[in-house]
């Protein structure tokens, strides 16, 4: 594992991680501001934080309530 960490050029991976992070933050902000969501808010917090990439997307597609 150590070797893997060293052999990776972080300049290449960093943007990828950044985008993932932005996605997570945007989803969380939207969730906090939302009055109501489909399903409980805490459930969505866990989904967004613990499921990589897919979590925020699931929230945006299914969690938001149309108003």
């Amino acid at each position: 594992m150590q070797e893997l960490m060293e052999s990776i050029n972080w300049a290449i991976i960093a943007p990828f991680i950044m985008i993932q992070f932005i996605l997570l933050i945007v989803a969380i902000i939207d969730l906090v501001k939302a009055d109501e969501t489909r399903g409980s808010k805490w459930m969505w917090v866990f989904i967004i934080v613990f499921i990589n990439i897919v979590g925020p997307v699931l929230y945006f597609i299914f969690g938001r309530r149309r108003d």
Binding site: M1, E3, L4, S7, I8, I12, I13, P15, F16, I19, Q20, I22, L23, V26, A27, D30, I53, P56, V57, F60, I61, R64, R66
Partner: protein, 255 residues
């Protein structure tokens, strides 16, 4: 036009303009990066007996482009379909569209505004995704010219245009968002099977677009059947759009 603006503002407010481009970028760069690091990943995960020599193919830039496009044609299309499934169907279900259509807004305006807003979101997201992929390909795999990149965006964008139009078509026809999504994906899958079965007859089927793009990258010239396929795709999209306006008009008047 005001409807179109309203639609764009709406897409901004519900953060689609933020998350859809980001997800498209992730989809596009996932495969180029993970394939580049595949030897290290296999080594780290281990499980191979000592001394195993693992020859991984060196990918040509054109092959990596195809990996990104493959992601777009599966997960990318799925996302497009999911974000578009409620755009008209959902509004009709909740009665918003009736409120809008009471005003002197023509049906043509309503449908085309929806269509254009969705199309621009999709194409811009795809453009950024492909741009990121192009950037990584140039760093990690070798040169891919900017003209080639633009041609890829242009021709594959036509396929995505077709997907968007198809989704709008079902939106105009059916009120249940889930069913709209299902039918759109089902239609695309059926088209793929038909194209494969009758491939010598359906040379210009829209499903062949990505194959021809690959051919274009390999031969460094635009094959004539790519142009043909592109025209067929544009024609089909226009027909679908007109058909959806007619169907929508009929349905709404019947109510």
């Amino acid at each position: 036009m005001t409807l179109f603006q309203k639609e764009m503002v709406e897409n901004w407010r519900n953060k689609k303009w933020i998350w859809v481009p980001l997800v498209m970028i992730i989809l596009a760069i996932m495969d180029p990066i993970s394939n580049y690091y595949m030897p290290q990943i296999i080594e780290a995960v281990g499980g191979l007996p000592e001394g195993t020599v693992f020859e991984l193919p060196d990918f040509a830039p054109a092959e990596v482009v195809m990996m990104s496009l493959a992601q777009f044609s599966t997960l990318g299309v799925l996302i497009i379909v999911l974000i578009s499934m409620g755009t008209i169907a959902g509004e009709r279900k909740s009665g918003i569209s009736e409120l809008i259509l009471v005003k002197p807004v023509s049906y043509i305006n309503y449908i085309t505004a929806k269509w254009a807003a969705l199309l621009i979101l999709t194409l811009v997201s795809f453009f950024f995704g492909m741009l990121a992929s192009w950037y990584y390909i140039n760093i990690l795999y070798g040169e891919l010219s900017f003209e080639n990149f633009l041609l890829i965006v242009l021709f594959y964008g036509l396929w995505l245009t077709f997907v968007v139009t198809l989704s709008i078509f079902y939106n105009a026809m059916i009120k249940t968002p889930g069913l709209v999504a299902f039918l759109t994906i089902f239609t695309i899958m059926v088209m793929r099977v038909i194209t494969q079965v009758f491939h010598h007859l359906l040379n210009w089927s829209p499903n062949n677009l990505s194959n021809y793009i690959f051919e274009m990258l390999l031969t460094e010239s635009i094959p004539s059947h790519l142009v043909g396929t592109a025209s067929v795709t544009i024609m089909l999209s226009i027909i679908l759009l007109i058909a959806s306006i007619f169907i929508f008009k009929k349905k709404e008047l019947a109510n």
